[in-house]
């Protein structure tokens, strides 16, 4: 009996020693982690504030030299690269674009590289190149389309590209690219176009970058360049994700249609019901319609018409249309198109 008691005591001691050792290791771990903490991440310490601007610049340059040596090679004829390429990650993007950083970060932003080129004999003429690596073509298209200037003109031969009087914006694979000129100058814009050509020729991308949903919108009466992609929070509703919108001109009215492809028809129905409830909660009221297919799905929202419906695994509808008749017409055309898409699959 006594030996059994000693064995039990020895076993208990071993367990105790193990537990104490584990507690000791945890304490050591906490101590190491605490001594290496960055309080500024929580906004309660000065670590980043006390990092000098020079140090920040040095950090950026180190990244540049190791990972991004190439942008300066895009310099157009008669221009020179100013300083080195600057590189920004999600945690530093605000240093470059401040309040616009969330737009990119919420859309999958991975890295921004920027470079300025100035005319050799006139430093007042310069451009800044912004290359946003958005991770994939859908993310790149989303930030491109949401910011698209209504006055922008198509810039061929690129499909997702437009120019304004001083700038050029386009999607190149997973990259969203901005070339912003310091003046409205033909000479400067020729140089901008040259940089764009060099990017297309030299910046390797995965060409399997088709965005299927773009084909799901009926082409007739579609306003060119009007398709936008909201990865989340479309029309102010958090639950409306991966949503494409497009504008249509019909009988002197402009109508915005939208669609979102879901995994299956049940998910589509759930999303449509949620959005419908969201609108009702925020003041929308059901409206009568002559079309049976969208009965109960048409709402009046402070004088505008909202329509939300599903076609198979698609949630679709019309947003803030001023004319109900035009809205219903577009809803009908979109329904037919989506039915034909589904029947061809």
């Amino acid at each position: 009996m006594a030996s059994a008691g000693r064995r039990a005591k020895g076993f208990e001691s071993a367990i105790s020693v193990c537990l104490l050792a584990i507690l000791f290791l945890i304490a050591v771990g906490i101590f190491i982690k605490q001594s290496d903490s960055d309080m500024s991440r929580f906004g309660i310490g000065p670590a980043a504030a006390e990092l000098s601007l020079q140090e920040l610049e040095i950090n950026q340059l180190q990244i540049n030299e190791e990972e991004k040596p190439a942008l300066s090679s895009l310099v157009p004829a008669g221009f020179e690269a100013l300083l080195k390429t600057e590189v920004y990650k999600p945690e530093t993007l605000y240093e470059k674009i401040n309040g616009k950083a969330p737009l990119y970060i919420e859309s999958g932003f991975e890295e921004l590289s920027t470079q300025r080129f100035a005319k050799t004999d006139d430093q007042g003429l310069w451009m800044e190149l912004f290359v946003y690596d958005m991770g994939n073509v859908k993310n790149a298209f989303s930030v491109y389309s949401i910011q698209r200037r209504a006055e922008g003109k198509a810039f061929s031969p690129m499909r997702f590209a437009y120019k304004t009087s001083n700038a050029l914006y386009f999607v190149h694979g997973k990259y969203y690219i901005e070339l912003v000129g310091s003046a409205e100058s033909d000479e400067l814009f020729r140089a901008v176009a040259e940089v764009a050509r060099k990017i297309r020729a030299n910046l390797a991308i995965d060409y399997d970058t088709e965005i299927a949903e773009l084909q799901f919108f009926p082409q007739e009466n579609l306003v060119s360049g009007s398709i936008k992609l909201y990865l989340a929070n479309a029309f102010g509703f958090r639950g409306l994700t991966n949503t494409f919108s497009a504008r249509y001109r019909i009988a002197d009215e402009t109508v915005t249609a939208f669609l979102s492809k879901q995994a299956n028809s049940n998910d589509a129905k759930k999303m449509a019901e949620s959005y419908h409830s969201f609108l009702i909660t925020n003041g929308a009221v059901k409206k009568k319609t002559s079309q049976k297919s969208i009965e109960g799905k048409v709402m009046d929202f402070y004088g505008t018409t909202e329509i939300v419906f599903t076609v198979g695994r698609f949630v679709a509808g019309v947003h803030e249309a001023e004319n109900q008749q035009a809205a219903e017409k577009i809803a009908e055309i979109l329904t037919n198109k989506l039915n034909s898409v589904l029947s061809n699959e």
Partner: protein, 332 residues
């Protein structure tokens, strides 16, 4: 010990074990008590080292708190707007030192309207010297991204220097920590303090811009440039930080430039097509009132910008700018 008592504790053993456990608990508790930091993690800055921005405001004068001038020439509109409030002499006394805080947030050309207009900044500097007979005028801002480039490419550095102002570029030693009394976000936070420490008057100059996060960037948001550290964390609560900035900074005068308004893609813009000409310039002793009027140039109402109501609640000014009886006029 007989069979019945095997595996059971006798009273002596129980007391011994209970005593040991009690001593262990007391020791652990004592150590925890000694190591406990009731203040939580902080920056290591003691309360005695915290600074407070001086109050640069001037006494309220009924009917001369806000002016709105229409015109396309900024030099003329700003001169007129200040004149309507009693002239720069009301704001700047001979021999005083003035700091002008324009929005120099980005290294972008003046044409894009992402920063304060250099001509406007230069005219205000000129007024301070010529009519206000200021001893010294400083022009300063804290753009995080390469301040020298921002001052150079925005044209503000050159314009201010040519008008006789001294441009102050931020560096670490110019920041001190502050805490806003009653503030939720500005607690023990570094601000661009040194250039404002010994001045007499403070003037803010900001363009009217769309802002992706805040809805609009105007004279209140302009003070964001005084924050140091990783100020981007405040973007999560942008309305509160703008309101707190308005409570923290008591400027002498703000000038809100709506000559060309950035209607979309703010605050950076990038294309001339983001701008719309509104030919409006506002000068005001009440920045909440100035912004409440200015948001109309973006097609917004004061209620669309929650930070305005928050600032009003914090007694930084009024959203009901009509109460100030703004003076309307044209120039040029």
């Amino acid at each position: 010990m007989n069979k019945q008592n095997e595996g059971k504790l006798d009273r002596r053993q129980f007391i011994q074990r209970a005593g040991k456990a009690g001593i262990s608990l007391a020791a652990a508790g004592t150590v925890a008590y000694l190591l406990y930091d009731s203040k939580g993690p902080g920056s290591g800055i003691g309360a005695e080292e915290l600074v407070t921005l001086p109050d640069f405001s001037i006494p309220y004068q009924a009917g001369q708190a806000m002016s709105i001038v229409k015109g396309s020439n900024r030099r003329e509109t700003v001169t007129k707007a200040i004149e309507l409030l009693g002239g720069i002499e009301r704001f700047v006394k001979p021999g005083e030192t003035v700091a002008i805080k324009p929005n120099v947030a980005f290294a972008s050309p003046p044409m894009l309207g992402a920063t304060a207009n250099p001509e406007l900044v230069s005219e205000v500097v000129r007024l301070c010297y010529k009519r206000g007979r200021a001893k010294k005028v400083y022009v300063t801002d804290n753009p995080i991204n390469d301040p020298a480039s921002c001052f150079m490419l925005s044209g503000i550095g050159k314009a201010a220097s040519e008008a006789g102002a001294e441009v102050v570029i931020p560096r670490d030693s110019l920041f001190k920590h502050t805490t806003l009394a009653g503030g939720r976000l500005i607690k023990n936070w570094p601000i661009f303090y040194e250039p404002l420490k010994n001045i007499d008057k403070l003037i803010g100059i900001a363009p009217v811009k769309d802002h992706h996060r805040a809805g609009a960037s105007m004279s209140m948001k302009n003070w964001y440039g005084l924050l140091g550290g990783r100020r981007n964390i405040f973007h999560q609560d942008i309305n509160t930080i703008i309101a707190e900035l308005a409570m923290m900074v008591r400027p002498t005068l703000v000038i809100l430039d709506g000559t060309e308004v950035m209607m979309t893609n703010g605050p950076t813009g990038g294309s001339v097509s983001d701008l719309r000409r509104a030919n409006t310039l506002i000068a005001s002793c009440d920045m909440v009132a100035a912004d409440s009027y200015g948001c109309g140039l973006l097609g917004l109402k004061p209620k669309d910008l929650p930070y305005l109501a928050k600032a009003e609640k914090g007694r930084a000014g009024t959203t009901d700018y009509h109460r100030l009886k703004p003076i309307f006029d044209t120039a040029g």
